[in-house]
Amino acid sequence: MISALVAVLITGWMYYQFSHTVGELSSNDEIDGDFKVCNEDIIPNYYGMGTDHDGGRKAIKNKLLNNLQNLKFDNSGLITFRFIVNCEGEIGRFRARSTDLNLEEIKIDSAKLKHIEEALLSLKNWNPAKNEHSSYDSYYVLNFKIRNNQIVDIF
């Protein structure tokens, strides 16, 4: 009985360990609205998958930077948005983390994060991850660099 219990516990733990990865974002209907992914079980990362915005990161910067200049911040550092580009080229499930120059976590006013998120949502023409067979959901990372109290770079 004990051996069966231990084996079940270990198997359950191993299943969890194999089926979860660093950086996966679980859905939350309250904050993610009606954003849907095509396959919740397989969401790779953008690198090596061809996920990008039309015109690359430079186009994102060109479109957003000026519109975000009215946001003021207390600390220098980075706001890093991680989100999903789904297989249809829609974006959602935004999660942001912010660090100062010592790479320690800092708190950013949620209204400002929402403002950036809305700016991101205004961007259309995302290219989902794809190969010769199909298009896929994938995670994307975008950094907003803060210096002198404002966003100076997006990459």
Partner: protein, 266 residues
């Protein structure tokens, strides 16, 4: 019958015990090198991170474990966690990891001053030795950091030093491209042109240099040559440098060619 079930139960219990013991052995007691390789192979998977945790507990002074565990965090934008681990690796073996940390600060965070601090510290720890953080010449990376800071006088010094370090035949062609871009930024178009041409001497496929030359010829009013280099940049666009993780500071886009072409044909 009762005896049969008793034997069956015993066999089953033995099998389940062996199963559990094997897994626990593999996770906790098998050779550390094997577990490290396994965890590295499954980069980013929760099991890999848990195995690194066990390895750190058993071998807390092994810098490689901290380094390797940091990689998926940093690749996926979890810099707080990633750099905590990387800082520990640097603390344990600075010569081994300062270069990589500087590289990460430069390319992943665009924290140019932080990157320079790491590169300079590494340089002082290795006198009379040309370091190559993550496989790239230290002065190419320092030049890139100064380029990011828009300190073009210093970026020029380091890009030139990178060419000296590696020799013209072996240096990364991007050292010439960045030299051209730095000279261009401070208005030295003739010098910029020489550097871009040098890059093309090394490889005619250097699309970045073609765009650089197209800009210079456009500024100088030679629209025919400007258009020629735009056409060539477009032709060799697939040879442009590309990093799956990040955008280079001198990354070129088709939109750059289109915008410049519009000005040229006006």
């Amino acid at each position: 019958m009762k005896r049969f079930f008793k034997i069956l139960k015993l066999i089953l219990a033995s099998l389940l015990t062996v199963y559990s013991v094997v897994i626990i052995y593999m996770l906790v007691f098998s050779p550390k090198e094997q577990r490290y390789d396994y965890a590295s192979h499954f980069q980013g998977v929760a099991l890999s991170q848990s195995m690194f945790e066990i390895l750190k507990y058993q071998d807390p002074s092994n810098d490689q474990i901290y380094f390797e565990q940091s990689v998926p965090y940093n690749k996926r934008g979890y810099y707080e966690e990633g750099f905590q681990l990387l800082d520990k690796a640097v603390e344990l073996k600075p010569k081994m990891h300062l270069g990589y940390r500087g590289y990460m600060k430069l390319r992943f965070l665009r924290c140019f001053n932080g990157a320079l601090e790491d590169f300079n510290r590494l340089d002082t720890l290795t006198p009379n030795f040309v370091d190559t953080p993550w496989g790239e010449d230290i002065d190419l990376l320092r030049g890139e950091a100064y380029f990011g800071l828009k300190n073009y006088d210093k970026s020029i010094v380091h890009f030139k030093r990178s060419i000296e370090n590696q020799g013209e035949d072996w240096v990364d062609i991007q050292a010439f491209v960045y030299l051209g871009l730095s000279e261009f930024e401070i208005g030295n178009y003739e010098k910029a042109k020489e550097h871009f041409e040098k890059a093309l001497d090394k490889s005619k496929f250097t699309a970045e240099a073609h765009i650089g030359l197209a800009r210079i010829y456009f500024e100088n009013g030679d629209l025919t040559k400007s258009e020629f280099h735009l056409d060539t940049a477009e032709k060799y666009f697939n040879y442009k440098r590309n990093d799956p993780y990040n955008e280079y500071l001198n990354e070129i886009y088709k939109a750059d060619i289109a915008v410049l072409r519009k000005s040229v044909v006006k």
